[in-house]
Amino acid sequence: MTLAAHSHAAKPLRKRIADASEPYLYSAPALILIIGVMLVPLVLGISYAFRDIQLLNPFSGGFIGLDHFRALGQDQAFFRALRNTLWWTGASVFLQFIFGLILALLLDKPFAGRGLVQALVFLPWAVPSFLAGLNWAWLFNPVIGPLPHWLHALGLLDAPNNILSDPQLAMWGPIAANVWWGIPFFAITLLAALQAIPRDLYEAASIDGAGPVQRFLSITLPFLAPTIAITILLRTVWISNFADLIVVMTNGGPADRTQIVASYIFTQAFKRLDFGYASAIALVLLVLLLVYSLLIVLLRQTMLNKG
């Protein structure tokens, strides 16, 4: 102690400053890179939300305070997009999860040719989203695609029409494409979690007399719960921002029936070229997603603490 204090006093000031700043100097390159790459665009984007930025108007660019947000409060199209986003995200995530779980449970059982089937199942994941959107748009097109005819034959459609142009049904088109495209993600992660469950627990349960449903509820589900929570969180945030399929398949139409917030931002920015307003919408979406994530993380924490 005394020795340390002594040597401390004896060092010249420059040396002491150099010593104190040493850790910061080491970490500076990484920090500067992270701030440059992540924070600068974020701050710039946020600043747009408070400025009047229209690409075709050379006199724009001034600070306008909360004007964009006031306009947003009156914007019926935005609120419709918000409702559509809920619908699009909820249905997509739910169906992707359910089918992904079923697929993972099937793939967890040993059967001949399982390796091949596993590889095939994960194929949609490798298809670029624009290609997937185009494919599904064609599948729903009664002129070249079989789906309208099949749906008609099953009695689900009155006539073999394109559901993408039916305001009541259009949203189901991108949702179907999204579910097809996103199942592998859930299947892969849930399968990995399933395979980590010790087999002798199932054996103990079968000796205890548990049937398949009880085994699923008492062993499989508790083991999967943390994975389910985190994958659903990730996918929800991701899908609510995911406008590719909608832009390709319906472009938000008909009559804005498939317009979600993300595609609405895209429309505002790249069709109307109003970057300021688009940034304001994006900021609102960001805040909503942050709140959602925070809630899920809190929920998970309390669940883990209880467990």
Binding site: P198, D200, L201, E203, A204, A205, S206, I207, D208, G209, A210, Q214, S218, I219, P222, F223, G307
Partner: protein, 361 residues
């Protein structure tokens, strides 16, 4: 009734045979210990009795009823796994209740059964804990408790103590022995590779060798009258010494001239037709005595292991071959590099011809 009849049961995994026809009858209330080298099919046999593994051929009868195709829960058995296999998301109480709730037992009876088991196993203070908050020994007791509450006719244990440290293993072994004493009419089948567990717990030991049963008998029967060289060397530690030789006198007592020099007397009777037969004599390390004058053989002591209560000597015979191990009571610090003559009581000298004991024929 919980007698178990195993009638020429076979098991193969795909084309790979593990058990070729096992026959075994287990009486009500027996404590059977299955021992055998690793990979010989002990767990497989136990799991077939439990119903966790399909029976490839033969019949399994529990209490006189054919059980080959009866699901595990309806066989009247309970199993304790080596890994404990506790449900990690359930408390100790919930783990023990699980089977009873599935069987739709009334709540009051469930509570009584669980509290009774918890009291026997000293788990009462831990009933509301999760398995991860328990020590290894406590987890194993919960696994045993989970078996007890179901009140099965047959308990199956697959190496239940091998994940515990030495002291805990002894304590839990004694608890299991007491448990059996408290439930004299329950049948227990216990797999282990621990000699001491086998010798102390078993009413009968079943030695499994490659693909079948080598010998069944009480612990002392196996120790004193092993049926072949495999059982002789498997039971007892260190393993029985085998020395090759030739019969030179027959009758109520047999005399064998050993290949490396020396002669051995054995109390195993032989007939005149056995004269000149090539045999192995078997002597356990603890049956060898240091003698002055004539003995079985003399050799140089090369390694001395002083264990305190006994001293193990590794002795090289003049003719070469594997070390002979002798276990002398007490401490012998001065024997290293000495040449010692060893003898044995003829009653303790076994005779094997072609691997089989000449006691049985």
């Amino acid at each position: 009734m919980a007698s178990i009849d195993i009638q020429s049961i076979r098991k193969s995994f795909g084309a790979f045979p593990v058990l070729h026809g096992v026959d075994l009858t287990i009486q009500d209330g027996e404590f059977i210990v299955l021992v055998g080298p690793s990979g010989c099919g002990k767990s497989t046999l136990l799991r077939m009795i439990a119903g966790l593994e399909r029976i490839s051929g033969g019949d399994l009868l529990i209490g006189g009823q054919r059980m080959n195709d009866v699901p595990p829960a309806q066989r009247g058995i309970a199993m304790v796994f080596q890994s404990y296999a506790l449900y990690p998301h359930m408390t100790v109480r919930q783990n023990m209740e699980f089977a009873l709730q599935i069987a739709r037992m009334p709540k009051a009876e469930i509570d009584k059964a669980v509290e009774n088991a918890a009291r026997i196993l000293q788990l009462t203070p831990y009933l509301d804990r999760l398995p991860k908050a328990l020590s290894g020994g406590q987890r194993q007791r919960v696994a045993i408790g989970r078996a007890i509450v179901r009140d099965p006719k047959v308990f199956l244990f697959d190496e239940p103590l091998s994940n515990l440290d030495a002291a805990l293993r002894v304590a839990t072994r004694i608890e299991i022995a007491q448990l059996k004493e408290a439930m004299p009419d329950r049948t227990m089948i216990y797999v282990t590779h621990d000699q001491v567990e086998a010798m102390t717990l078993a009413s009968r030991i079943v030695v499994l060798a490659r693909k079948g049963i080598a010998q069944v008998g009480t612990p002392l029967e196996l120790y004193e009258r092993p049926v072949d060289e495999f059982v002789a060397q498997f039971i007892g530690s260190p393993a029985m010494n085998l020395l090759a030789g030739e019969i030179i006198a027959t009758g109520a007592e047999t005399v064998v001239r050993l290949d490396g020099g020396g002669t051995a007397r054995s109390a195993v009777p032989t007939q005149t037709s056995d004269m000149g037969r090539k045999v192995n004599i078997g002597v356990r390390p603890e049956d060898l005595l240091a003698v002055s004058g004539d003995g079985l053989f003399s050799g140089e002591v090369q390694i001395v292991e002083a264990l305190g209560e006994v001293t193990q000597l590794y002795v090289a015979r003049p003719g070469g071959g594997a070390h002979i191990i002798a276990k002398l009571p007490g401490i012998h610090p001065d024997l290293r590099h000495k040449t010692v003559t060893f003898g044995a009581d003829p009653a303790k000298v076994h005779l094997f011809a072609d691997g089989r004991s000449l006691l049985y024929r």
